[in-house]
């Protein structure tokens, strides 16, 4: 009959054997992974060589065709040149640019879609209001494009030294939907500017219910919107609205809930 010592010895042996086998299996797995990586690398190199051969073959064919064509036309034509592609600004660049705004210390930072057709109107409004801002020097623009996932809240928090930070939503753009409320949490004043000719859809309704200030293009549209939304709606652009936007007395529910930043 096996003794308790025998059992313990067998357990120890089994554990030792398990460790040895597992280490061996792991060593073989690493070797297999390395070989797989070498095979993948060779396959990539082979693919590149094939592509290069195809390109060269195509180039030879093009040169032959071109020679034949030139011979036929007895003319030489300069090769057409593609204009160099403008590199798109990366999300990181946009955020970086935002953070650099601190050093310029602008009076107002407007988060607004740079491509928006009414951007010039808004610029002009901020230049001609009682604030008398020098648009070139004192107003900075930029709404980072939709970033997934995103460092935008950090960018909102980063722009600290501007005297006034305004998130100006021109209609219900995707950027406005995502970033109006997050900007509020970092102390930005939020304004939504609704086009008087556009019907009030669910997205406009959302922005209008959460922004600090709602403005539109005419007295008539403002009265209509105010009755639908149950809140004050100003008319943009004019001095009163610019001031009202900076000293909003009516807090939207998102600010009431989270408190003022």
């Amino acid at each position: 009959m096996p003794s308790r010592d025998d059992d313990a010895r067998r357990d120890r042996e089994r554990l030792d054997r398990w460790d040895v086998l597992r280490d061996e299996a792991h060593r073989l797995l690493k070797q297999t992974r390395k070989q797989e990586a070498s095979i993948r690398s060779l396959e990539r190199a082979l693919e590149q060589e094939r592509a290069r051969t195809d390109e060269l073959q195509a180039e030879v064919e093009r040169m032959r065709a071109s020679r034949l064509w030139r011979r036929a036309r007895r003319a030489t034509l300069p090769p057409a040149r593609e204009p160099p592609a403008t590199p798109a600004e990366s999300p990181r660049d946009v955020v970086q640019r935002w953070l650099l705004l601190e050093s310029d210390d602008p009076a107002v930072v407007l988060a607004i879609d740079p491509e928006h057709s009414r951007r010039a109107d808004v610029l002009s409004m901020w230049a001609t209001t009682a604030l008398q801002l020098d648009v070139e020097r004192q107003v900075a623009f930029g709404l980072p494009p939709a970033l997934v996932p995103s460092p935008v809240p950090a960018a909102f928090a980063g722009v600290r030294r501007a005297r006034t930070r305004v998130f100006y939503a021109l209609g219900a753009t995707d950027g406005a939907l995502r970033w109006l409320v997050p900007s509020q949490q970092e102390g930005w004043t939020t304004i939504v500017d609704l086009d008087e000719r556009t019907a009030l859809g669910p997205q406009e309704r959302y922005l209008a219910l959460h922004a600090d200030v709602v403005v539109t293009g005419s007295e008539e549209a403002a009265a209509r919107l105010a009755s639908t939304l149950g809140r004050r709606v100003g008319v943009a652009p004019n001095d009163a609205v610019a001031y009202a936007s900076l000293h909003a007395d009516e807090k939207p529910p998102s600010r009431v809930l989270l408190g003022d930043a």
């Binding site: 996932p149 949490q185 669910p202 809930l257 989270l258």
Partner: protein, 345 residues
């Protein structure tokens, strides 16, 4: 000298497993020299004290950092990094932490039995059962360490502005498994006399965001919804406290969860939670707070009861706290982690 742990996670954005690491940091630092690496940084590196977290986008940088730190434990959260660990010389012990419950959980079935894994840690008993069913225990022992909260969550809730109507809170991304539209259906069924409050999300697609906004802010709705696409983490206690003070509740419509932090946080702020009986939720909430998965009539009934009966919500919150509070204490997470390491290794 304290043992050194290197936590490795793919996505450096605050939320999910990153919040788990942030919550552990203070307590775990007492016993371990903690380091964190992410493949991409979307703000998570800055959430840790300087020098603790790093972004290492390239394979070569990951290998270099592992060699440089020579950790006693390399802890991979969910998937990735195994080849880098091997390339770095398989230094220390390898721990895999499983947090995900989505389709990404498939990675566990692809783990090779030949891969040297010393321990698998997961966050709930239900997730452990799933891992055992998928054969993970034949590769390494599986232990449960619940997610923890920081000390601030154990204090009194912050004061909030009084409200005329209760808030029904829903939190999450507009992902398929979260089923936000079920929450919309519940709200539409109740109709009026409350405010739906949705927190999330800034990272979903343009189409999903537009569909969500169109549904919640349609002019035919009798309620006026609130939508906060992003809330700073330090402001979240206000959201839960305001919901609790308004006699509302957090409503979950999810298909599954690992160990939902929002349930733990809401409970600690006195906010009742209504949830489906899936995943770890029966481990965290009293039976009265649960409805059978896919039984939307029962979900509606429970939510309506919270709104109609002023004593029901606070009673649920109080019983949930008795369950959740001991689970999410940071010192318990540390003790469980140390025990798991010691048992398995």
């Amino acid at each position: 000298m304290k043992p050194r742990i290197l936590f490795a996670y793919r996505y450096g954005n605050v939320g999910g497993p990153v919040t788990v690491l942030m919550n552990r940091f203070q307590t775990f630092s007492r016993e371990f020299d903690l380091h964190v690496m992410f493949i991409n940084d979307f703000g998570a590196v800055a959430a840790f004290p300087p020098g603790v977290a790093r972004a290492v986008p390239s394979f070569a940088d990951q290998v270099r950092l592992m060699r440089e730190l020579a950790p006693d434990y390399v802890v991979v959260l969910d998937s990735g990094f195994l080849t880098a660990w091997d390339e770095a010389g398989s230094l220390g012990r390898l721990v895999i932490e499983v947090h995900t419950t989505t389709a990404n959980l498939e990675f566990v079935t692809k783990l090779s039995p030949a891969q040297r894994i010393d321990l698998v840690v997961t966050v709930s008993d239900s997730l452990k059962r799933t891992l055992v069913e998928r054969g993970v225990e034949t590769i390494a022992p599986v232990r449960v360490v619940h997610n923890c909260l920081t000390e601030e969550w154990f204090g009194p809730p912050p004061a909030t502005a009084p409200r005329a109507d209760p808030l029904l809170l829903w939190i999450g991304r507009f992902e398929e498994h979260k089923r936000w539209w079920r929450f919309a259906e519940i709200c539409e069924g109740i109709g009026a006399g409350f405010t739906p409050l949705v927190v999330g999300s800034t990272v979903d697609s343009r189409e999903d965001t537009a569909t969500f906004a169109a549904r919640l802010f349609d002019e035919s709705r009798a309620y006026r919804a609130l939508w906060l696409p992003h809330v700073r983490h330090d402001l979240m206690p206000r959201v839960f406290a305001a919901t609790a003070a308004s006699r509302g509740a957090l409503v979950l419509t999810t298909r599954n969860e690992g160990f939902p932090m929002n349930v733990a946080e809401a409970t600690m702020m006195g906010c009742p939670v209504i949830a489906p009986a899936v995943g770890p939720l029966p481990e965290m909430l009293p039976a009265d707070a649960l409805y059978e998965d896919d039984d939307w009539a029962a979900a509606h009934k429970l939510v309506a009861r919270v709104l109609e009966d002023p004593s029901f919500g606070p009673a649920l919150a109080s019983r949930a706290r008795e369950i959740v509070e001991p689970l999410v204490r940071p010192e318990r997470a540390l003790a469980d982690y140390e025990q798991a390491l010691s048992d398995a290794l």
